[in-house]
């Protein structure tokens, strides 16, 4: 369902920044914001900004975007089911804010990078960034995750996590390991993966696993994908998960 909507609406509604210059918004910032939006936000909020309420709120026509500080806090620290994006810089957040406040039917005006930096300063440090290749889960956790996976995920995503369902009547699903997975998720954090999965999966009963089970399944995905295990378990905490980036093997 989601894929279809992205495809269909993406074609129909993605708007060019025509009116941007007239509103006095820096077109370079806006364009950078659009790029960042597609990489980081469109997964849930959609290219068209309509989201998928109630699980993913609409940004198009969302009056809460009128408060720039709220945007900065949401992006940097997360908000309810929205994962934090701690590695985005003040300039990146500012370009994102410029984009979402003025894209689609929105007309909330520009935000300066200086203003964003001021809000960010008040939010404090978030800790170092790591990647999925840095031993972010334990072997024991992956074993637990495998059991959860085989009950909740395996029939659709396949025992090899390659998106080949165990039931041949089912259509293929997105792979959860290896090249295609890394390509699609490249640059996103485990917090995004965690929150997206928790909000949408299992498809017939989303959010029906415990938070611990969701991270255990992620540990299983990482081990099948060849990422090394480490000494510490992956925690079901969006703030720590947000510091683990998904990227191809270095």
């Amino acid at each position: 369902m989601l894929k279809l909507v992205v495809g269909v609406l993406g074609l129909t509604f993605v708007n060019a920044p025509i009116s941007v210059a007239q509103q006095g918004i820096d077109p370079v910032l806006y364009e950078q914001g659009q790029q960042l939006y597609q990489e980081n936000c469109a997964l849930c909020h959609q290219d068209s900004g309509v989201g998928d309420p109630p699980r993913f709120p609409a940004l198009s026509g969302n009056d809460q975007l009128g408060d720039p500080a709220r945007i900065v806090r949401s992006i940097h620290s997360g908000r309810r089911r929205m994962p934090p994006f701690p590695r985005l810089t003040a300039e990146e957040i500012s370009s994102l804010a410029n984009y979402v406040r003025n894209a689609w039917a929105n007309d909330f005006g520009g935000v300066s990078t200086g203003d964003v930096a001021a809000v960010l300063e008040g939010l404090g440090e978030t800790g170092p960034m790591t990647s999925i290749w840095d031993g972010v889960y334990t072997e024991a956790q992956a074993t637990v995750g495998q059991a959860v996976y085989s009950g909740a995920c395996g029939i659709c995503h396949g025992r090899r996590l390659n998106g080949a369902p165990e039931d041949p009547d089912m259509r293929s699903t997105p792979p959860l390991a290896r090249a295609r997975f890394l390509r699609v998720w490249d640059g996103r954090s485990l917090a995004t993966l965690f929150e997206y999965t928790r909000a949408t999966m299992p498809e017939d009963n989303p959010s029906s696993l415990t938070d611990q089970e969701y991270v255990d399944v992620i540990a299983h995905m990482l081990t099948v994908g060849g990422m090394p295990a480490g000494d510490d378990e992956l925690q079901p905490d969006p703030r720590s998960l947000a510091r683990v980036v998904i990227r191809p093997q270095p």
């Binding site: 396949g158 998106g163 165990e166 039931d167 293929s172 090249a179």
Partner: protein, 697 residues
């Protein structure tokens, strides 16, 4: 059968167990005495019958006599058998295979019924099953389960619903069939429960199972110390879950973890449906004659009068390695009959439940000539053997004057024919592991690469040319549904039945998502020769780097030296090996080396001008030996067209009149585009009910 053996210069390499042979088919017809005169004018056909005299109903010698004879011991047949037996009839089931269950046994056991059935009620109330095995909460909200016969009937006949291929199967369901089916769904669910079938929580709805409510549940057993249908337990060995690469004679397809929809240690698939029903049927005294292919109906007169019985031929299935006659898992109730031909008298009725025509390339060509290509079998060919889904009911029905219905519906469901992502095996619909006695007929489990696996190779036709964007080849359109693409209920998709907007062209344009790779795969090419112009087999060609990228396990039991997997140090040698070793490779892959060289050029240039692969996925050179080829199979899975029946499952002739004493159900019938097991069970239930009300003669 028009393998390469029919072409000069090629040696026939056919083993015994191959797709239906056209010459055998004709021979069989002659043996019954009707030749190939299936659609002759009545007087001509009668003359032919009179000339051979083989089917003189007055003088026929009956070898067996029972109240109800059922052709086929699968989903519809076993259900009909138990139902008729429950109502007091003596019942004999003949089945061409060595064991019972038909394709129900290798299915996923997703049984979509509804109409306010007992499992819907159970889940609405949040209750467990009656044995208390289910410990998880319902997966669907009560409003998704709030169903009625009228709503189900509306969904089954909703004229407004098309699928993302812009096809419209629902529009043409026979109203009477749909009504009768909907009315009998709740009773059939209870009937299955009463015969040891245990249902998981309801989750979604089966494709073709209706649009607006959640109606599908799978069947489960609990892992335990012994395999016991009464207790609902199965050993890990029998379930095929003790060893990831082994299954059992009990379960041709390894069972799936069903802990999320039942409780820890629950396993599910068709085994948990077929085996309990078979157990119950045997316990209740249904009799079975296995290894016996039904092939003719005996009617008082060829096109008039009551149906009296059937003729059936010995069709022994032997172990592929030892040659021993295969034995069914359970024996009680079996009649060991090995005469070539037996005539079986049915005092009350004959029920045809011998499946569809997906395994008979000649009959398939009636609807889609490209799939007369015998290289592509139906699903479950190893399990079912050469006579599985061989159109026996359709052919025998036509010979006594039956009409057909809903033939166009064969092209309207996503699984009917598609390209499987399971490569390197002839039986590419399911994964079967060693341990089931028919594994040797396929000899490899296959490598299920998923849709994304198609990014890793080039796909070539029988002359070694690419024919489509590989990435788009296995894509299947979604299910009939508006709005959306066939997701489960509970996702906020508000379907309004009978709303013209469901099929307005703007919406159809938006949701159309079919790439027609399958049509390209079946197209003629330079190797297509008259008179059949077969498209020939398809090959996934890749190199050692692809194996490194994907981790595909190219070893037994996933692949074997069975003509569906090849490995060579050069592309030229690979082409030669395929030509020499594959039973349907009738011409050399003359272009393969050139195709690979061209492809590598495209990879270097970053663009594929022929099929625009670069738009969908990265492209990788095929340059590091060894080189590999895995078969890609087009599968015709199931049948939606077949014998015309009324709402009592009585077969109807070409004048619209009921053929007295003849019933049919499941994939043998047409006019009711409903995918899956629910169709067959309800048909069996209805047919069994009415068959025993026939006067005894």
């Amino acid at each position: 059968m028009a393998t390469k053996g029919d072409h000069p210069g090629n040696d026939p390499k056919l083993k015994n167990e191959k797709g239906l042979n056209r010459r055998d088919f004709v021979k069989t017809g002659v043996a019954v005495g009707l030749g190939s005169g299936a659609l002759l004018e009545p007087d001509q056909a009668q003359a032919q019958v009179a000339a051979t005299g083989a089917q003189d109903a007055q003088n026929i010698v009956w070898d067996y006599e029972v109240d109800v004879v059922i052709a086929g011991g699968g989903c519809a047949g076993l259900t009909a058998a138990i139902r008729a037996r429950d109502l007091g009839a003596s019942v004999l089931v003949v089945d061409q295979n060595f064991d019972l269950g038909g394709r129900m046994l290798h299915s996923g056991a997703l049984v979509s019924l509804g109409g306010g059935d007992p499992v819907q009620h159970r889940d609405m109330k949040g209750e467990s099953d009656r044995e208390g095995l289910i410990t998880v909460a319902p997966a669907e909200a009560p409003e998704e389960l709030d169903d009625s016969v009228d709503l189900l009937f509306t969904d089954l006949t909703d004229w407004s619903v098309v699928d993302p291929k812009a096809q419209s199967p629902y529009r043409y369901n026979e109203r009477e069939l749909a009504r009768s089916w909907a009315e009998n769904c709740p009773a059939t669910r209870q009937f299955l429960i009463d015969n040891y079938v245990r249902f998981t929580r309801i989750s979604g709805t089966h494709g073709g199972g209706g649009l607006s409510r959640a109606r599908a549940a799978r069947c489960f057993l609990m892992l335990g110390n012994k395999t016991d249908m009464k207790a609902g337990t199965i050993t890990a060995e029998d379930a095929g879950v003790a060893d990831p690469e082994r299954t059992s004679s009990f379960a041709p397809v390894q069972m799936n973890n069903s802990s999320r929809s039942v409780a820890p240690n629950a396993v599910a698939n068709g085994v948990a449906l077929a085996r309990p029903l078979e157990f119950s049927a045997r316990e209740k005294g249904v009799e079975f004659m296995l290894h016996r292919r039904f092939d003719a109906i005996v009617r008082e007169q060829p096109f008039a009068g009551k149906v009296l019985g059937i003729t059936a031929h010995y069709s022994p299935r032997q172990h592929p390695e030892t040659g021993q006659l295969l034995q069914s898992y359970w024996q009680n109730g079996n009649i060991d009959e090995r005469r070539e031909t037996v005539n079986i008298r049915a005092r009350q009725a004959v029920i045809l439940a011998s499946g569809g025509h997906a395994g008979n390339p000649e009959v398939r060509s009636m609807f889609y000539p490209a799939l007369r290509e015998p290289a592509f079998p139906t699903s479950g060919i190893a399990l079912q053997g050469p006579h599985g889904q061989d159109a026996s009911a359709l052919i025998a029905g036509l010979r006594v004057g039956a009409n057909l219905a809903g033939m166009q519906q064969n092209v309207s469901y996503q699984t009917t024919f598609h390209i499987s992502t399971r490569l390197g095996t002839r039986d590419a619909y399911t994964t079967m592991m060693p341990g089931h006695p028919t594994f040797g007929f396929r000899a490899s489990a296959g490598v299920n690469v998923g849709n994304t696996g198609f990014e890793e190779f080039i796909a070539v036709n029988q002359v070694g040319k690419r024919f489509f964007s590989e990435v788009r080849l296995p894509a299947r359109p979604g299910l009939s549904r508006y709005p959306g693409d066939g997701g489960a209920p509970g996702q906020g998709l508000k379907h309004t039945p009978l709303d013209w907007r469901n099929c307005r062209k703007e919406w159809v344009r938006q949701m159309y998502n079919y790439d027609h790779g399958l049509d390209a795969a079946l197209a003629m090419n330079e190797g297509s020769q008259p008179p059949d112009y077969y498209s020939g087999p398809l090959w996934a060609v890749f190199d050692q780097d692809a194996v490194e990228r994907t981790g595909w396990e190219l070893r037994y039991p996933y692949v074997s030296d069975n003509g569906y997997f090849f490995k060579a140090d050069t592309i030229e040698e690979l082409a030669k090996k395929i030509e020499a070793g594959h039973e349907f490779q009738r011409v050399p892959l003359s272009y393969l080396a050139e195709t690979v060289a061209t492809w590598n050029g495209y990879v270097d240039a970053g663009a594929d001008p022929e099929f625009e692969r670069e738009a969908d996925a990265p492209m990788s050179r095929i340059a590091t030996p060894p080189f590999y080829a895995l078969s890609i199979m087009v599968i015709w899975h199931d049948s939606y067209g077949g014998l015309r029946v009324n709402g009592r499952q009585q077969v109807v002739d070409m004048q619209g009149q009921v053929i007295p004493g003849l019933y049919a159900g499941g994939e043998a019938v047409g006019g009711f585009n409903k995918h899956g097991l629910g169709k067959g069970h309800v048909h069996g239930y209805i047919a069994g009910t009415h068959a025993v009300a026939e006067p005894s003669s």
